[in-house]
Symmetry: D2
Subunit: 240 residues, 4 copies
């Protein structure tokens, strides 16, 4: 009985910490504030989707890397490869949604912002070394993020007058991820045995969410520079 | 039309080369000859299954590595992760079959023979560098091997008086792999575009099959040393 | 002539950008301010050295990784392995300096702070993929940092009453790195051929320096939590 | 005293096993026999040097990989990076020697033979996983090979009428490697602590030497096919 209790409280503690970081993010992020104030533009949203494209491209790959490394837990290994397979190609939805706002498919994709590179670097790092369970911390918030960002997405949709067919990245993920999120919770509850396991998962959860927050705010900065004319990165988005 | 013709002839040429190497192997391998002459023993078969266990353990992992590397072909990447998932845990069937001949599960597994290490090394090498398509050359013969080894398996079964439940590794794979083999052929036909692609696949096909042959004969040598008393590696198998 | 001009201006532009980021860091970092105001304590300095230990441990390894990857530039490859060799073991000086303030060698080293993990992750990322030249951007500021931090080190030494023998990490590096810094400048000037090369080096320079800044401020936060009693991480340092 | 005795006998046993494999190789290799019988041609020697070029290109890289992996033994790590640095570019001597027999520098280099690919694959495999000490087994025979192949080199030189300036790969290595060989012996004696360490080193020593033997004989086969007109691989060498 003790073990079940510990597991339940482990998962509850993790959810609590997740909520705390989201609360900070949602109340302090400059990018979020812009959306909340109804000031989002197509160019800003496109800049965000382009960064989403950049890091999402790597998700199947770093997820599979965890499976390549773990040879003593077949159940978890299977989960990693299965999840990797499902992630393949999701970044294309982000590009589709950008194009749907008025660009030709095949538009030139600007290189990732530094904060996005850092997020990608971190996700590989936690995938190819350290506790193989720790990448679950990333999935833990990423697969359940719709609980937190749904109001923002509604705001974006309304502000920009987008149809669901123009928001495929988030609409599709919202459905897929409800199921994934359940599977991730179960995997964490099943596999985390020691306080170190729980802490490793928690730390990756918090750090990867904070790096995503940093990425969002760098998008807001890049947008400000674009509007001010201080930068010509992705200047073609001004036409949207 | 030309392209289709080339693809057909590419696949036919590959099948022809595969048959040639199998013919060499089946007529020259000392391990194969022992089986054909009805001289296989449980210890010899167990030694072979143990090496099979060793390299099979890595198949899901090196298959997934190909997917981790290829980021510009989502169709092939999905295939790699899907195939990796299906391969997880297959090595356990080899251990099960060894145990079923009269050992306790959890028996001490001797370290891999050098030839098996070399095969494993090569499969990782072709997976993490070079033409991402080339590992298909390994699948090309491995998934279709039952066409060539079925008579040998029948001979083993009869010589040792084994039930199908004691030959799960080969019985299960025989079924699974018929389907895989078709998928591998289609993938090769679809993805190989240049003469270099075909040659890369062909070379890995031939080299990995020859390394497997070498492994088989090293099993025969290890068995001879065990029987002669020159080695005490896996001496507990003498009791079978 | 044009090429020489471009190279000179490339290096000058890089130095200018480096100065700008340092200026930001030195004027805005909470950690730096604490030192400038003479409020540094042994515990705070020890916390900083411990993070320095953590990321320095990886420097030889990620430096060598660049050489493992580059097979078409023997001159640069040799530089990477040579530099890696020289970096081996430098992290021990950081531990020595911590211990010299009043701890037994072998004291328990707390795990790295999240910001340090992120810095480490990023340095591996830029080392094992992308433009092989880009890691020079990290060396570009790291090997020349004494020009910027010397006043701070003097302040630390005076505030804490340390002898040079208690500041081996910085004293030793200050000497070694003057020479390295020259070699790094020359390598950058020699190898950067395209605007993309210069931009890749510049981006890694700026991003890795900003991540180091973030690490410094997380050290300041960790110290505040230690003093406030909100955390018991590395609580043994309070005794210094 | 016991430890010293064990170390001495460990090294002696390793040397004994090395001599045994060399004896087998020197008496059974088809390639060696051709040289011993004075039947070597420039084309055959060139084919051999080309394979030497192929695997030597990777030696610095896989040597450095060992250092990247080992973070708890600074002495050995330093050795790895130092040795890697010294190995950089040695493959160029093999190309130089081929060209010196009558080709233009920059001649088209045929792809590696399968046996060479297998050797390369194995050297990476033992470098990036398993016991970090095991790659010393490769250095153990490779750095001391002149004791065994000197008569063969003399035979080649005489048969083909080559000057020392046309045999730079072997002349240069013969000098460098005498010193290296001593360092490798000392490192093995110092670092191997357990029977498993000794066995890991011994197994890599034996397996990598046997794979080199296999490579030599595949060179002899490739030469026979070239002469017979069964293959046009590297046909330009016939003109030598």
């Amino acid at each position: 009985m003790t073990d079940t209790t510990q597991t339940v409280s482990g998962l509850e503690a993790l959810k609590h910490r997740r909520s705390q970081v989201w609360d900070e993010l949602l109340s302090q992020s400059r990018f979020v504030r812009t959306i909340q104030q109804g000031e989002v533009t197509k160019a800003l949203y496109a800049l965000y989707l382009i960064e989403t494209y950049h890091y999402t491209r790597h998700n199947a790959r770093n997820q599979a890397l965890v499976g390549v490394r773990c040879d003593d837990d077949r159940h978890y290994q299977k989960f990693c490869f299965n999840h990797a397979e499902e992630e393949v190609g999701h970044e294309q939805m982000a590009l589709h949604d950008v194009a749907s706002m008025g660009l030709q498919p095949g538009f030139p994709i600007p290189r990732a912002l530094p904060a996005t590179d850092v997020l990608i670097a971190y996700l590989y790092w936690v995938s190819y070394q350290g506790n193989p369970l720790q990448r679950l911390g990333y999935s833990f918030w990423a697969e359940s993020c719709y609980d937190y960002i749904r109001p923002l997405l509604g705001k974006v949709q309304k502000s920009l007058g987008l149809t669901p067919a123009q928001m495929t990245f988030f609409v599709a993920h919202s459905d897929i991820d409800a199921e994934h999120s359940q599977a991730v919770d179960e995997m964490i509850a099943k596999k985390c045995k020691t306080p170190e396991d729980w802490e490793d998962v928690a730390q990756v959860m918090e750090t990867s969410l904070r790096l995503t927050w940093k990425m969002m705010d760098e998008v807001a900065d890049a947008y400000a520079q674009l509007v001010d004319g201080r930068s010509d990165r992705a200047a073609f988005l001004k036409a949207l």
